[in-house]
Symmetry: C2
Subunit: 465 residues, 2 copies
């Protein structure tokens, strides 16, 4: 396998292919096939997201994939922002369509006309909805599995509120939700306020969650947007106030995608392959019986799998013939299963199993009677270790610089004083090819701009995907 | 509410709207919005399907929505069958695309090129995959929610086998799977062998599961198809045999859609509203506390809900203010919740709840200590009653006729002797506007054709959706 530190991009492409997550041989560039193992991982990530939002009374909906040109054109900045990357349906059967329709690039234009029918009074607010659907972008840049693609697996939450203050509270709640999700996935990140010229088309402001892959590039893995009344004014989403007048609703959105899976692969994997956080692992525990002539290790292993499954774990046995235990160990390590249990002659004779967590790869004995309590502890250890490792790695990829020339020495993202002006950001981009992720919300201190020396805050700059 | 027996179509449209399943005010005809309650019901149906196929080692995948013209054109009959109902994407951003792409109307053309890469040897077979995705049809006929639409929520299983015999065994297994699913949904049906001219484009033969709605029209709610090597020859899906030669794989498919939800609505509902089979009900048990000045019925009701949820039931409390218990009873009956539990002063004082199943609507007392055992029994009774009712109703809508003129008196579908020839089927269609569902697999006896008097079997004829 490729060396992850030295050839990150090659390592990433190789592991995505050999671990059975995705097949990119589909004849349309940037549209890949989700293989069973990859799809299960993504569904588990979706499950984590659903759990977080459902517990806060978000309601799941599903809107059509097609959006008429009229719907899309309602908000000017929005349509402007997407016009170069929308796929258009222009024919049905043999008929030229009267009304051209876009494959949704995101769903504001699909949803908000309906919101204007749903929101009548105070009692209908806050409205908290989300959907998990595919969205489409006619991407002309180089594509990369789970990172830059044309068919995007998308979580999008859309809310409407009776005041800007309540929409701002929603933004705070998104940060809580994000904390839950990113912690389940063991992902470190910075919260960056995107600059004016890079915010979501139509938004008042955009906060992005950015992480950094070992190759040094930043990866945007989530965004939340405050729309204020920018969309509601255009889509006519208003409610009747107690005094008989109407008021436009304030709105927010929250977007996530399979980039979460990309980050899991990129941040946690090692030279042996993937490592899945236990909360989203398609297989949490693989049980490998070691063939024996004296005892039936298969039966013993099966009963362990059964009791783990009954206790709610995603456990599986590998009873394939013609493969050695060693081959199986390597394969499941490559596929990132957090915990392996081995069952050989000794284990059967002495009523225990040998456990090997994917992170430490150290072996330990677990008495049979303690399995159902020991397994969650071992999984928790794996989670803790992934969180710690990726946090350390993330720290090592942050470069606080005082002089702009030091960008050249940076491995990873750069944190530097910035006045907030585009001209200074452009100088950094032109000279060093580092784009601007915006002001860091994690660093509140004021400091001077490394370009113009004016008063500023900590800005974040990177080469990004 | 509309009377179901007398005005079935109006009743159906009304109940879909007022129960909050779907909103059809979206600006594109035949593309509706899944509302939270309807989406949850469909997701529960999907869950039932997944459980059945996963237990038989089907693997879930997800293929791109776009299919190039080249991919689609590989199998002639297939593309011919869909050419009038495919949506075409012809532009990306401002660019005219070099290669026009179809929104999948079904996924044979998307999948089978990849199957030809995946299937190499015996060891790769049988290949059993499925996906749950939306498919698209440029439908020109009158649309109807969940029945005839342009964006279809689709379950499609696709398999490949090393022999026709094994593919035929797969067809048998589909019948088993279908039995599980239809039984969970309490749906009666006939298995009909579609006539040559109405089988799936590219299939050797098609078996359809047809039910009948109270209005008398038949509704196709599932299909399974034997492809033989029709597709594998064109998409080059072949495997290496032990003797060194290559053989084309035999293939089958199984398709289901939100018509299952349509059938649940249509067959089980009554003049009070929906009735959901417990296995797929978005809310299985609604607990309504009756306000009291002496005791806190809300706390009592909440603890019941909590214990039911912990026992794995989808239970919910209705604590809305400003609504009377009677209003709530009606609303949840309209929404088809299988079981209601009422909690008033008496209940709290004497440690019981009052239960009312949606089917019988008879009230009974359940001691608090027995709730978690009594509830599944009551739900099982609802399921049994729905199965019985819908079977009786289905029986009443089947008309066995000896003389073709008796079609005029038929309420529902007609079973009549048929020789299997298209000319006789066309006579029935032209004279009585009854289409041909094909030979019934439920009736094996031989009999004479009601048109030409030739030897035949029992054919099924209907007005259909």
């Amino acid at each position: 396998m490729e060396n992850k530190k030295e050839n990150f991009n090659e390592w990433y492409n190789e592991i995505v292919e050999i671990s059975g997550l995705s097949d990119k041989r589909y004849p349309i560039k940037g549209m890949n096939v989700w293989l069973p193992y990859g799809l299960k991982a993504m569904q588990n990530i979706d499950g984590t997201i659903r759990k977080s939002v459902d517990s806060r009374e978000f309601q799941e909906v599903s809107f059509p994939v097609l959006i008429t040109r009229d719907q899309l054109s309602v908000e000017f900045e929005h349509v402007k922002g997407f016009e170069n990357e929308v796929y258009w349906v222009t024919r049905g059967g043999m008929d030229q369509l009267d009304v051209e329709m876009a494959l949704r690039p995101t769903s504001e234009a699909a949803m908000y006309g309906m919101f204007s029918l749903w929101v009548r009074s105070h009692a209908d607010l806050p409205l908290r909805t989300y959907q998990i659907v595919n969205v489409y972008r006619y991407e002309t840049k180089h594509t990369r599995t789970f990172i830059r693609i044309r068919e995007i697996h998308f979580f999008e939450a859309h809310t409407a509120h009776d005041s800007y203050e309540d929409a701002e509270r929603q933004m705070e709640q998104y940060l809580e939700i994000w904390k839950e999700i990113s912690s389940e996935l063991c992902l470190p990140y910075l919260v960056n306020e995107r600059p004016e010229w890079d915010k979501f088309p139509g938004a008042m402001y955009t906060l992005a969650f950015d992480t950094v892959v070992p190759g040094g590039r930043s990866l945007q893995i989530g965004t939340i947007h405050e729309y204020g009344t920018n969309f509601s004014r255009n889509y006519d989403i208003k409610y009747l106030k107690d005094d008989g007048t109407h008021e436009y609703a304030s709105q927010t959105t929250f977007g996530l995608s399979e980039r979460l899976l990309a980050a899991v692969i990129a941040l946690h994997g090692d030279d042996q392959g993937l490592i899945f956080p236990p909360g989203i692992a398609p297989v949490q525990i693989i049980v490998v019986p070691i063939p024996s002539k004296k005892v039936d290790t298969g039966i013993y292993a099966s009963s362990i799998v059964k009791s783990l499954q009954e206790a709610g774990f995603r456990a599986r046995i590998d009873q394939r013939e013609n493969y050695t235990p060693g081959f199986k160990y390597n394969e499941w390590e490559m596929k990132g299963v957090p915990l392996r249990l081995e069952v050989g002659e000794k284990e059967v004779d002495d009523n225990f199993v040998t456990a090997s967590p994917r992170t430490s790869r150290k072996k330990s004995k677990i008495p049979l009677s303690e399995i159902v309590t020991a397994v969650p502890q071992l999984l928790a250890e794996v989670k803790l270790e992934l969180t710690k490792r990726s946090a350390d790695q993330f720290k090592g990829l942050q470069n606080h610089i005082k002089k702009v020339e030091d960008i050249k020495k940076a491995n990873g993202i750069v944190l530097a004083g910035w006045c907030g002006n585009k001209t200074c950001a452009e100088k950094i981009e032109e000279t060093y090819e580092f784009g601007t992720l915006g002001f860091s919300r994690n660093h509140k201190e004021s400091t001077k701009c490394v370009i113009c020396d004016a008063e500023g805050r900590i800005g974040v700059f990177s080469k990004s995907y």
